[in-house]
């Protein structure tokens, strides 16, 4: 459909009568996070209907490091406090954390199934935001806050009690961090809604989502400034969906694959989110802004891989800083996977997910000259590990551990994971 000719300035919002004319509204996302329903009233760790015991606490490292082949004494050495060692505890444990498996030589981030399932506290509440992805009110096990049944959001079930994710909407730790970074310029996600009838009611509308190469401008109060112009670029993270609008609520068709910018809070975890059978619901706000929900099935192995193999903040960092347990997470994701069965094995390969976001009014324009989004930076090491994990998890055979770094001992990193002598992840390092 042709893009609208008339562009409305968003500084004054009139109550518009139904009008038949091409229209466009653009938005820039300022807050973005997984759609995790918080069952308490305030804070982030309080017990609530979602997690009656509150947010999951930090790991008991003595417990998780103990294996059949690791002695109690070794474990004690590994879990000394900073008072005893004068060092960051993560640095002391870091290598051992990667070896918690049935055998000494198994690298257990790459081969999580090579370790026993330690279990994780999942969400036991019944309310979740998301979509009924399979059109079956009997599956999913959640009801949305506005009463829709059969909501499929198993990713929330797995991760929702996680310490770093849990909290009042848009106030969880990683959500805050993501917001701070987006507004700082880490990446820009834009949404464009258009149609030919009326922004509040349109049977033939369109929703586009994608990256913009243009930075958000942040005001002195820390919010994204409205009415800035952003180019929307048709990279791999761009999707265009048909939609209908009723009373300001926009519902899109499902796409076999909805590609959109991923929820990220530093350079190496931005990139692409792929939602199978993905769809979007948007709500125009009275102040001219937009709230949105995007949902679909994510390949659970990709979810694990992106979470675990990052520089600088990879598996160890996730566990020690964000209070996760990657092995438990792997097992939980797999057990809760509820979609896209593997044609050969019949096992589900994807897990139902939903993301939500808030956006400010903006002008979203097509670039007149080609514009480029920088690919997220990665490192050779992370790529190698991801490949090894993928092979392991798709064949069921243990992947060998990649060669250790041979260079000088790296300093402890800012996020707890070692980086190569403090070189930034911009440098692809062969020996990490």
């Amino acid at each position: 459909m042709k893009k609208a000719v008339l562009v409305t300035a968003m500084t004054v919002l009139f109550a518009a009568p139904a009008v038949c004319a091409p229209w466009v509204r653009g938005y820039v996302v300022g807050n973005y996070e997984p759609a995790f329903y918080y069952g308490a009233k305030t804070g982030a760790t309080d017990p609530g209907s979602d997690c009656p015991k509150g947010a999951n606490p930090d790991n008991n490292y003595r417990q998780i490091l103990k294996t059949a082949w690791r002695s109690d004494d070794e474990v004690r050495q590994l879990t000394r406090t900073v008072t005893e060692t004068g060092k960051d505890p993560t640095a002391v444990m870091t290598n051992a954390l990667a070896h918690r498996g049935f055998r000494k030589d198994i690298e257990t981030y790459i081969n999580p199934f090579g370790a026993p399932d330690p279990g994780v506290q999942e969400v036991t509440g019944k309310i979740a935001e998301g979509f009924d992805l399979d059109g079956n009110a009997k599956t999913g096990g959640f009801t949305s806050p506005d009463g829709r049944r059969g909501i499929d959001n198993a990713y929330y079930r797995v991760m929702g009690c996680g310490n770093s994710y849990r909290g009042v909407a848009y106030q969880g730790y990683l959500s805050n961090r993501g917001n701070d970074k987006m507004l700082e310029g880490l990446y820009t996600m834009v949404v464009r809604v258009s149609g030919n009838q009326d922004p509040m009611n349109d049977s033939n509308a369109r929703v586009e989502i994608g990256y913009s190469p243009d930075h958000i401008v942040k005001d002195a109060m820390g919010n994204a400034v409205s009415d800035y112009s952003f180019r929307i670029v048709k990279t791999a993270q761009y999707s265009s969906l048909k939609a209908t609008i009723k009373n300001g609520v926009v519902e899109t068709e499902p796409l076999a694959e909805l590609h959109m910018p991923a929820f990220a809070w530093y350079e190496t975890n931005r990139g692409e989110a792929v939602l199978f059978k993905g769809r979007v619901r948007l709500q125009m706000q009275p102040d001219g802004g937009l709230s949105g929900l995007a949902g679909g099935y994510q390949d659970f192995r990709m979810v694990y891989s992106k979470d675990t193999f990052n520089v600088p903040s990879g598996g160890q960092s996730r566990e020690t800083t964000y209070y996760q347990n990657q092995i438990a997470m792997y097992y939980a994701l797999k057990r809760n996977a509820d979609g896209i069965p593997d044609p050969k094995t019949g096992e589900n390969t994807a897990i139902s997910t939903a993301f939500r976001f808030l956006a400010r009014p903006a002008f979203v324009v097509d670039p007149e000259t080609p514009a480029v989004i920088n690919e997220p930076l990665t490192s050779d090491r992370a790529e190698i590990e991801r490949a090894l994990f993928w092979k392991a998890v798709t064949t069921g055979a243990i992947s060998p551990e990649p060669a250790r770094r041979t260079g000088p001992r790296p300093q402890p990193s800012k996020d707890g994971l070692q980086v190569n002598n403090g070189a930034s992840p911009t440098v692809a390092s062969a020996d990490r």
Partner: protein, 555 residues
């Protein structure tokens, strides 16, 4: 400073090529002759200083340092150059700047390009080479050949330092520094001949160059001074044509417009970030640039009617300004031309972010400030300060339930005779602009009330910014004020002391020429008044006889 296309260092080289060394070795003796006198002393403005150094030594030379501030006189900072001096703190800044510049000039990576001769040995004095370099740069820096004494002092300094430091270039460095911190460089010494009270040729060259290009005279202009061409109307006219035909005219006119529109006001204002979150750091600079581009585009590039600056809907915006004007930006380049639709209510420079933003409060608009600014800038009618015991409480009370709009609150002035004398002139102007807030965003309501933008000025009724724009466009005082300020800018006088009579012929040409800026500039620069000087001051016999104020006599 933006380079307008002519590489600056070619000018320095061109000097050598033009064989101006002959001039340099002449030892002129200005002051000795009783026929000459100093008619004026104009301190270089910051842009004049920076542009001059860039033209003389190349733009790779970094100029870091703090300049003495200028003051606005008769609406122009340039006019204060004729009355300000240099304070101790200011001179310290100039002295350090000079040293830093000189050090870079003789630095190994620059000396090949910038010092045309090579000493016999780099570890000892070389009077010949030092002399050549000092003469060469002395001429361009002082904008006239050095006197014998001036040259001798510097070469002696260079020699003694070269000797004691064992480095020729160290000696040359300090000699050059002594030129750059000399009053002969820092001030434009305007010398006149007592015979006919007109500026001498070198002073003419400087006046032309700083007016048209905001920089030091180039080789050709200095040659025209040396060979007497600038002593004749024909010679002047030819140089004026040359200067105006160059793309560098844009640099000169940008400096003039920045002064005329008082764009430096942004440096003294701030906006409340909670009320105007859009007014982030880049907005002020963008707004200044928009106004300059609009003015240059209309008056020079399109050779248009200058009065259209009051009414044009065409402008240039960048991404930042696009968010304030509420329009989408095309990302083809940093700046894009944009024309406001008619219903946007915008009218020329009056409704650009610059004018609207500079003359407002941090948290709300001010019709009085805007009105005063328009009167001052465009009509040459400055407003005196308010009396000392004014009670601002009513005007400032934005939560007053009965006086909801600022118009209602300002009515207090209309009823008080003392206030009305000034406010009846300024407030209507500002009230007609009230549909734009303190940072220039369009609004049609204030506190739930629609904003009434009708106004009356000297019997004329008009509505809104477009109404005001038309009134100003048609008011002959606007063009007249513009001409007076251009003249004042060029000669370093206060525009308040430029009478209509002084610029009559120039105004006639300007009017007949469709109010085109190049026509005005040509008329000004080729008029006999442009180079006229006040007669030399009588010796101090009776001091109290005629009390002449500083700028009473127009240069």
């Amino acid at each position: 400073m933006k380079d307008t296309g002519i590489r600056r260092h070619t000018i320095a080289i061109a000097f050598a090529c033009a064989g101006l060394m002959n001039i340099a070795l002449e030892t002129a003796s200005f002051a000795a002759s009783p026929a000459n006198y100093v008619a004026g002393l104009r301190r270089l403005t910051e842009t004049e200083y920076r542009n001059s150094i860039a033209d003389i030594f190349g733009s790779a030379i970094d100029v870091q340092g703090r300049f003495e501030p200028e003051r606005r006189v008769g609406g122009l900072l340039a006019s204060s150059s004729a009355i300000l001096s240099i304070t101790p703190a200011g001179f310290e800044g100039y002295s350090k700047m000079a040293d830093r510049i000189a050090a870079q000039v003789v630095d190994e990576k620059n000396r090949g390009k910038l010092i045309s001769c090579t000493p016999k040995t780099a570890t000892a004095p070389d009077d010949k080479c030092a002399g050549e370099a000092v003469s060469h740069y002395g001429l361009i820096l002082f904008r006239r050949p050095l006197t014998g004494a001036e040259l001798k002092a510097r070469t002696a300094l260079a020699a003694s330092i070269a000797k004691s430091s064992g480095n020729f270039y160290t000696g040359l460095r300090y000699a050059l520094a002594s030129l750059i911190s000399s009053p002969q460089f820092l001030f434009r010494v305007e010398t006149a001949s007592a015979k006919d009270n007109t500026l001498d040729n070198y002073s003419r060259a400087a006046r032309l160059s700083y007016l048209f290009w905001d920089t030091t005279p180039d080789a050709e202009l200095l040659a025209a001074a040396q060979n007497g061409a600038l002593a004749t109307p024909d010679g002047v006219s030819r140089q004026v044509d040359r200067l105006m035909a160059s793309p560098r005219l844009e640099t000169g006119m940008r400096a003039f417009f920045a002064d005329y529109f008082e764009l430096d006001t942004f440096g003294n204002i701030s906006k409340d970030p909670t009320i105007y979150p859009k007014f982030m750091g880049g907005v002020a600079d963008s707004a200044k640039e928009e106004t300059l581009r609009t003015a240059i585009d209309l008056t020079l590039k399109r050779n248009g009617d200058m009065r259209d600056l009051m009414t044009t809907r065409k402008t240039f915006i960048n991404r930042t300004l696009a968010s304030i004007y509420g329009v989408p930006f095309k990302f083809n380049s940093d700046w894009m031309p944009y024309e406001f639709p008619e219903d946007a209510g915008r009218s020329g420079l009056l409704t650009q972010v610059s004018m609207l933003g500079m003359f407002s409060h941090p948290g709300r608009s001010s019709p009085t400030k805007r009105g005063v600014a328009v009167l001052d800038i465009f009509l040459c009618q400055p407003t005196p300060n308010p009396p000392p015991n004014v009670d601002f409480s009513i005007i400032n009370d934005v939560s007053n339930p009965t006086l909801k709009t600022v118009r209602q609150r300002l009515m207090a002035h209309a009823t008080n005779g003392v206030c009305a004398s000034c406010h009846t002139h300024s407030d209507p102007i500002g009230l007609s602009l009230e549909q734009f807030d303190s940072i220039g965003v369009r609004r049609v309501q204030e506190n739930g009330q629609p904003i009434d933008v009708s106004a009356t000025l000297q019997g004329q009724n008009f509505v809104g910014a477009t109404g005001l724009g038309k009134v100003l466009h048609d008011n002959p005082k606007v063009a007249a004020c513009f001409a007076r300020k251009a003249y004042a800018y060029g000669v370093g006088a206060s525009s308040e002391r430029v009478s209509a009579a002084m610029v009559r012929t120039q105004m006639d040409s300007f009017t007949a020429g469709g109010y085109r800026l190049p026509v005005l500039l040509k008329a000004l620069a080729t008029s006999p008044q442009f180079f006229s000087a006040p007669p030399p001051e009588q010796p101090k016999v009776e001091q109290s006889k005629t009390k002449t104020a500083m700028n009473d006599v127009v240069h």
